[in-house]
């Protein structure tokens, strides 16, 4: 049998209760402990076996041998999303370097499991938005 204005109680209730909205940029929802966000690489214990490269479904990780003083690193500001090339001095006894192509990575964390030396881990970063280089100035 039909009951007109079925959701009336729910709607009027809505007017007097706090909205169920999390004001995102100001209030943040805490991410569960085993969330699969951006992958972090810890160079010291990496032996360069490339098992992670073999198991990556979207070919997003590159492990390469590395000597030399310093290297360029495309730094993306988490706040504004601009890209800047930054020179990072390499003083640590690093023998391997991992290059993650974040636009290809699907954050499945299979590499974290395939790594025998456990030098990869998932972080809880998910705000990885980057501005494209060719924003056309809006013509009036």
């Amino acid at each position: 049998m039909a009951k007109p204005a079925k959701m009336l109680g729910e709607l009027l209730g809505g007017l007097f209760t706090k909205p169920a909205t999390v004001l995102y940029p100001f209030e943040r929802l805490e991410v569960p402990p085993r969330f699969r966000g951006r992958i972090a690489y810890e160079a010291a214990s990496c032996i360069g076996c490339k098992l992670c490269m073999r198991d990556c479904p979207s070919d997003a990780i590159r492990i390469s041998k590395y000597e030399g003083g310093s290297f360029l690193f495309a730094f993306v500001s988490a706040r504004t999303g601009e890209r800047k090339l930054v020179e990072i001095p390499n003083n640590a006894k690093k023998r391997h370097r991992a290059r993650f192509r974040l636009s290809r990575c699907i954050y499945c964390a299979q590499c974290v499991e395939s790594c025998p030396k456990k030098c990869l881990r998932s972080t809880d970063q998910y705000e990885l938005a980057v501005l494209g280089s060719n924003i056309k100035p809006p013509k009036r």
């Binding site: 049998m1 039909a2 009951k3 007109p4 079925k6 959701m7 729910e10 709607l11 169920a20 991410v31 569960p32 085993r34 969330f35 699969r36 198991d55 990556c56 479904p57 979207s58 699907i106 954050y107 499945c108 964390a109 299979q110 499991e113 998932s122």
Partner: protein, 381 residues
Amino acid sequence: MAQVTIPLGPQHPALKEPGNFLLTLEGEKVVGAKVRVGYNHRGIEKACEARTYLQDIYLIERICGICSHAHTTCFCMAVEELAKAEVPKRAQAIRVLVGELERLHSHLLWLGVAGHEIGFDTLFMYVWKDREHVMDCLELVGGNRVNYAINTIGGVRRDIAPEMKTELLKRLDILEERTKYYVEVGTQEPTLLARCAGVGMLPKDVAIRLGAVGPTLRASGVDMDVRRDDPHLLYGELDFKVITSDRCDVLGRVIVRVLEVLESVKICREVLNNLPEGPIAVKVPRRIPPGEVVTRYEAPRGEDIHYVRSNGTEKPDRVKVRAPTLANWASMAHMLEGGRLADVPITIAAIDPCFSCTDRATIVRDGVWGTLDLHSLRRRS
């Protein structure tokens, strides 16, 4: 009244995904419907042959966002059957749990979208507000809201910790109480009844003849559910009811899906309360012995069937996926004809189409248009 042909899609607010329907109208009445889908054809099957089994899991998981677990479970069961690996009981229980949570996630999502299709945005907002509980559970268990990637060949990747169990049970109680409210709304709200009753009729014999699957079939009175007919994982030992309704229309599908949500909540509780002990995965060699296997799984939208053929190497020789939505397209054309233009979005939404599942590609031929002269002018910018 002259016939006019109106394209619906591929980019259209009613369709979350690209699919195209060329509707021939007489006034508001739909007299002809041609279904064209497959804009999401990405050639996954060929890509599967170029990747190892382990990588294929993540490729197959991304066939469809809402039934990702269905596809990976089906694929892993196939590979485990080929490799004759004995999956531990606890892993199967966790697979059933995540599978049922995904059914909750998919059905609640559908109820919201169906509300949006008939202009009932309040229902869309409320149902999706409560669906956040299921998303939190899945994120807690799987680490990601939609692609939970809990399956691996030989078992599952993550275990259910005790404190997780209490959190899951708390969320399930809230969900059950809210779903009971939506059962009432779905069966009593007069405008929703007016828009869903008697729309998109699919009689029982036509449903069987055209090979419909899942809730669309069960809403036409056919009592088929792969979980009970062809029991896989632990479904043989769980007792649950298969919901059917013999209304054969969109309202029947609403009722079947909402009651299935309640049923899934019961199953989740049952699995959580007596979770078998033991390991969660077993080691499976990278090379799978040659052979072929067919596995079936009850995805939220219906029977999902995988055929995997291996040739002894670490890459499959052929992977065939037929997702549930593809089986429902034939009955979709039948349901559309005879209805009205206003009913088309809700009828399409009623089979809960997942175009990316359909995985097929077709193009509308731009030259063919209706007879009415005004409408033969294409939209031009």
